[in-house]
Symmetry: C2
Subunit: 376 residues, 2 copies
Amino acid sequence: MKKIPVLLMGCGGVGRHLLQHIVSCRSLHAKMGVHIRVIGVCDSKSLVAPMDVLKEELNDELLSEVCLIKSTGSALSKLGALGGYRVVHDSELSTETEEIAKLLGKSTGLAVVDCSASMETIEILMKAVDLGCCIVLANKKPVTSTLEHYDKLALHPRFIRHESTVGAGLPVIASLNRIISSGDPVHRIVGSLSVTLGYVMSELEDGKPLSQVVQAAKKLGYTEPDPRDDLGGMDVARKGLILARLLGKRIIMDSIKIESLYPEEMGPGLMSVDDFLHNGIVKLDQNIEERVKKASSKGCVLRYVCVIEGSSVQVGIREVSKDSPLGRLRGSDNIVEIYSRCYKEQPLVIQGAGAGNDTTAAGVLADIIDLQDLFH
Amino acid sequence: MKKIPVLLMGCGGVGRHLLQHIVSCRSLHAKMGVHIRVIGVCDSKSLVAPMDVLKEELNDELLSEVCLIKSTGSALSKLGALGGYRVVHDSELSTETEEIAKLLGKSTGLAVVDCSASMETIEILMKAVDLGCCIVLANKKPVTSTLEHYDKLALHPRFIRHESTVGAGLPVIASLNRIISSGDPVHRIVGSLSVTLGYVMSELEDGKPLSQVVQAAKKLGYTEPDPRDDLGGMDVARKGLILARLLGKRIIMDSIKIESLYPEEMGPGLMSVDDFLHNGIVKLDQNIEERVKKASSKGCVLRYVCVIEGSSVQVGIREVSKDSPLGRLRGSDNIVEIYSRCYKEQPLVIQGAGAGNDTTAAGVLADIIDLQDLFH
């Protein structure tokens, strides 16, 4: 049985689902000859680990307990006394995590899995790379940080996996890596990579005003608490940057041209969420309506996409043919079109659910299992 | 630099393109820290290998020479005297191949790559598995043979890759393996996996008679020399079987219900190709035309698909909604829809060019590179 030791950072939404998947896949993975040995779980304040990470693991009973606690929104520090493990807090958290990476990284191998949404995991991830660990990310921030950070994380390309940073569990990065390693040059990638903006853009086609569509999306739970976090395009830009860097492009966030759906004067610092939703956004309706009509007269619809081509990544509204896969996109699907030598006139298209903790965690788990040949 | 020794069986269309890709990717792969060491190339009659497979490899000059010879349709045995290698023929072919697998399999690892379309490679592949080699297939036949053969080939699932047996280079199997390893249960797969039948079915929508569409497809070079090899559905059934077996279903070819587009009395044994194309197929026009019309009245079009669901694989014509990804399929694209827990109402869709030696060979090369962590 091949053992993959895992240290999980972030056990809220995606991380919690990952733990559930790991526990429920025990017999499946045993049949595959693999065992995921969870030797540590962290939230932002605490780390839970067995007494001896070399010999022991967190058992499934404890992992289920962690899931239960996190599903109520509580902190790991609330973990009751099941015994057989230790909990360290605050200042000890990072030294202890590093200690574990030191102990396991080169001896048995260790996959450090980041399911947080934090900017602050980058330091421990960089140390983990130095210590010979593998890195698995659902967190987009480490791979969209500076080029120095990126180069360090991607130093050993086989040791880093981050499928779930783009399109949830959709096999976008795995597919792109296959195209790259086969020497098929990628000319262009076009993606609708935001479930929120995918919904908003397709609803606009029916002639509804932008303000009404965004308010409905918020009610349906499709948006961030502040919908401007979606409408600003930053999340799409991060995903575009990740794909562009896979293609070897030396790009940073600041060099990406992002078309925000709201103007600066309606930004979070200047206008409350309520004010934006009730007074701000209605002022944007007319302009968008005109763009929808103009596109429609050409047989097109509007889509909010990232376009990677040459040395540039652009993020914003594009007119696309009603009859293209992108133009026909509906619901909570993401879609990615990849154009290359092999996929020249007609792109390689990957489409499916682009959000959800279950799907995102499934992508992380597939990444972990795919590391198995690197472990003893 | 990680070295992946490769023994290639079959250097016609796909195999020749693979050798070209390997040579043209040298600097790309060097950057990735990988070197593909070609230590043998076979066609059905001969094997070309370096004098000492442990220390030497076939150099790029020789590989280019092999490509040149095969592109003219000649046999490997016509290889001129460039020196530094040996050529063995006929009866010695299989013993020498086995000898190489013995020498390399357990010492340095060896990827035995089957780009032939032969039923006869199965014996050497089975021996190669026993000798610790990895297996990479573009050839569908070994994995659609008996369950005994299949179980042997898939004994170590990480040691066998066969992406290019379904949908050319499309990342169908890689994606499906990710879904499987993440414990996401696949309920249903629907695929249009024949470029020929994809073309034929979409052309029928415009009201053209079947006979005319098939004759046009043959002229365009979309069909096998005998178009009944496509119209019979056997090739689609093989692909369906491969996907079903990945899902763990214990299925053999004989248990697949295949709807042939021509009746038994028009089969190859009873009617010549010419007779079929000029007198036979016209008799099928009316029935198909009626089915097209009936589907159209329900907002549907006909597609020739494989459907994997429960314990069955079915292959034949289905009515699908005009507005579904399948219904909108055009040209030489294949499409696969995967329904699972994560992709429930809306499937995961993978679409793109489903044929072509270049694309198929790119898929094989990506498979080879993906084995790298198994090699020293």
